[in-house]
């Protein structure tokens, strides 16, 4: 956590970055971290061993993993630009969950195997659909504190 401590007390000429991982942000980092490990390791194993079985599903899982990774990094890094980038990615994530979730329900034949986002993330306790909504609320609130600090 050296990075976050540096962010909290950065006074050497730079503007202090907004901390995005204080309070509920820490819980978000944990849940996003779990999703990164889950989605990335799952897609690596599946792409390496049985890619031809369901190429679309496994590629979508890999994309989900990359998006989760970027959001986690942005949250830990902190700062206004990271906050905006994370907000955009959360919106993209939410859109992804909704589109892929609907797609898997409408046309199951395109998905011989599940993705992380199948059925709106049911296999992951619906965390994939709840997480971006929560994160967007959190990131919007963090804008207020950022404006107050600068």
């Amino acid at each position: 956590m050296a990075v976050s401590e540096e962010n909290g007390t950065a006074t050497d000429g730079r503007k202090p970055r907004t901390r995005l991982i204080s309070g509920p942000g820490m819980l978000l980092v944990w849940l996003y971290g779990v999703m990164v490990v889950g989605a990335v390791s799952r897609s690596i194993v599946q792409i390496a061993t049985e890619f031809d079985h369901a190429p679309l599903a496994y590629s979508l899982s890999a994309i989900a993993g990359v998006v989760y990774g970027f959001i986690t990094y942005s949250l830990v890094r902190g700062g206004e630009r990271a906050r905006r980038a994370a907000l955009v990615c959360c919106a993209a994530e939410l859109a992804g969950v909704l589109i892929v979730g609907t797609w898997t329900l409408v046309e199951p034949s395109a998905f011989p195997d599940a993705t992380v986002w199948s059925d709106y993330g049911m296999g992951y306790l619906f965390i994939p659909v709840l997480l971006p909504v929560t994160a967007m609320f959190w990131l919007r609130r963090a804008r207020g504190t950022a404006a107050a600090e600068i």
């Binding site: 956590m1 309070g23 820490m26 819980l27 849940l31 390791s41 194993v45 061993t49 306790l125």
Partner: protein, 119 residues
Amino acid sequence: MLDALTVATSVAALALAAWCGFAAYRDQPTKDWHFIGMAVVSLLALVQLVVGIVQLARGEKPEQGTVIFVGYLLGAFACVPAVGFMSLAERTRWGSVTVAAGGVVLAVLEVRLYDIWGG
């Protein structure tokens, strides 16, 4: 042996989650006793990791594949120490919530481990 450990670890993980959830409810950060609890759960997960690897070395095969099995064992072992450090960095009720979430995640991993081993 492995199934018993899986059950024990998931029960301990849920107990830890309830305990830290209660701390969060009372608006408290994680304290020394919570960390001892996390150490106990981590120890169970470590024993499970060792027993799992010994079982593999003795030639037993998990139903859904060795790579996935070892991956989940490692994930289960790393889970609680990770939230422990995060709750050290976040000395508020939210640190306790994070540990509670970690306990729930570990319990889910144990259910998956049970399936993967083919219990």
